[in-house]
Amino acid sequence: MNAVLDNLDLYFRGFGYTLFLFLASGVLSMVLGTLLVAFRVGPIAVLSKAAAFYVTMVRNTPLVIVFAFFSFAAPVLDIKFNWLQVRFGDFDLTAFFGAAVVSLSLYTSAFVCEALRSGVNAVPLGQAEAARAIGLPFSGVMTQVVLPQAFRASVPPLASVQIALIKNTSVAAVFGVAEAVSQMRTLTNSFSSERTAIFVAFAIGYIVLVELFSFAANRLERHWRIA
């Protein structure tokens, strides 16, 4: 256990990066996913097809390849992250971090889109028909009848998607972000006799993050559940 206890600063720095990655790409993926689902379920066929194509492509690509895209191909399109030089206490948020956030966000947004779409599909048609029948205009049907129900129905799948994102942040280790898994690999390399203790320590860190998030999501779900 000493290997971890002596390097607690590395441990917490690792999970600090994990948390930063999760928060930044969590928010971004929700925004992008909402935009995508608006295109996806919207009335404009071209946008709907384009969004569906994007979702299918991204969902079937390994996250590693998405990361590779932003390391190799994105610079050609002038998408670079060299401008990112934020220092946040002990944390250096540099180009690698920026590329990781964008990769994670774009990848997760496809899943967010599907989660939100399943929420929209869960609203019974009769609800909208009844709302139109009593004379609500389009905005009223949306804001007072359809979207509140759709949003509630999509909380559990959205929570699953974000939990998957917490775990997916580990892929940033492959592309040069010093987050938890990369620290774990470094520590295991230097103290290979204590690898089990190191593994358990880092696993506990992830379990705490995942359980905290799913606890919050459960509370929200119960809070918003209708009857």
């Binding site: 009335p43 404009i44 071209v46 946008l47 384009a50 299918t56 079937n60 690509t61 390994p62 996250l63 590693v64 390849i65 590779a68 895209f69 190799f72 191909a73 399109l77 899943f111 599907e114 989660a115 779409r117 399943s118 929209v120 599909n121 869960a122 609203v123 019974p124 048609l125 609800q127 909208a128 139109r132 389009f138 949306m142 359809v146 559990p156 799948p157 699953s160 998607v161 998957a164 775990k167 997916n168 942040t169 580990s170 892929v171 492959v174 938890a180 898994v181 774990m184 690999r185 295991t188 390399n189 290979s192 690898r195 089990t196 593994f199 880092f202 696993a203 992830y206 379990i207 799913s214």
Partner: protein
């Protein structure tokens, strides 16, 4: 008339307006595409010699045999192991005996909450990084443990999805607990589970790409050696992505087929906390 929760059937003016939007959207998307292709062309990524590798039989063979086949082998081994593990853990979780149920629950929760990459790195070191085959087995073992835990949940959801009356009727005619499980519930649950298991294959296949971090063989490793030799990172990346996408689309298509054949119009099994699974948020 298309019945939609979101929109009423559009009138003639709306149809005209949407047509304008469609044209504008198409032009914008096309412009972006043309711009992107032009950038890649200007940077020399679309030149023939960068792509020539992928039509050279020798390298194509390496890509398909040492790459795709190896990756599929890893994923298939892992899924086979995961089905067995998932069955054991799932049955354990449904046991009436606390001493069996709680450990099974703990194992499932542990492996579902831990990133696959963490498992991979640990297994890699545990098997000994000096050994050549250890990285292959690190990928397989890590994927088996993770997907096994997920499939345990799928099994439980599958058994729960069998109508209650089935088990009640079986008990009523005097069957014992194991008989109810083996003769009545399992055969029906497996049918319901099949599409979810195939979808899990997609997840396993995608996760084999993580083997990059533990120096495992497979598609990503072959791609790496190809672009290091020919300096064609961008084309290699596109080809690799395409190969993954094609295999996964075939699997997804298979899952849909099995769903239609065995389950019918019922919803695809929903299992929480497996956000990676491509089909778990799809509603029938």
């Amino acid at each position: 008339m298309s019945a939609s929760v979101l929109f009423d059937a559009p009138g003639p003016r709306t149809v005209a307006r949407h047509r304008v939007y469609s044209v504008v959207a198409a032009v914008v998307l096309l412009a972006f595409l043309v711009w992107a292709v032009k950038r890649f062309y200007d940077a020399g990524h679309l030149e023939g010699d960068k792509w020539e590798v992928f039509v050279t039989p020798r390298f194509l063979e390496a890509l398909l045999v040492d790459g795709v086949l190896e990756t599929v082998k890893m994923a298939a081994t892992a899924v086979a192991g995961a089905v067995v593990l998932g069955f054991v853990l799932g049955v354990g979780k449904m046991s009436d005996h606390g001493w069996l149920r709680w450990p099974a629950w703990a194992v499932v929760e542990f492996f579902r909450a831990v990133p696959v990459l963490l498992l991979m790195v640990f297994t890699w070191y545990a098997l000994g990084i000096a050994d050549d085959s250890s990285s292959y087995w690190a990928v397989v073992v890590a994927l088996t443990l993770y997907n096994g835990a997920v499939l345990a949940e799928v099994l439980r959801a599958g058994v729960n999805a069998v109508p209650k009356g089935q088990a009640e009727a079986a008990y009523a005619i005097g069957m014992r607990k194991t008989q109810v499980m083996n003769i009545i519930l399992m055969p029906q649950a497996v049918k319901i589970m099949l599409p979810a298991i195939i979808s899990q294959c997609v997840v396993a296949l995608k996760d084999t790409a993580l083997g990059l971090y533990v120096a495992a063989p497979g598609l990503t490793a072959i791609s790496r050696s190809i672009y290091l030799e020919f300096d064609n990172r961008v084309p290699t990346m596109f080809v690799t992505a395409m190969l993954y996408i094609v295999i996964n689309l075939i699997l997804t298509w298979l899952a849909t087929l099995v769903q239609k054949r065995f389950v019918g119009e019922k919803k695809v099994l929903q299992v929480s906390m497996v956000g990676g699974a491509p089909d778990d948020t799809k509603t029938a």
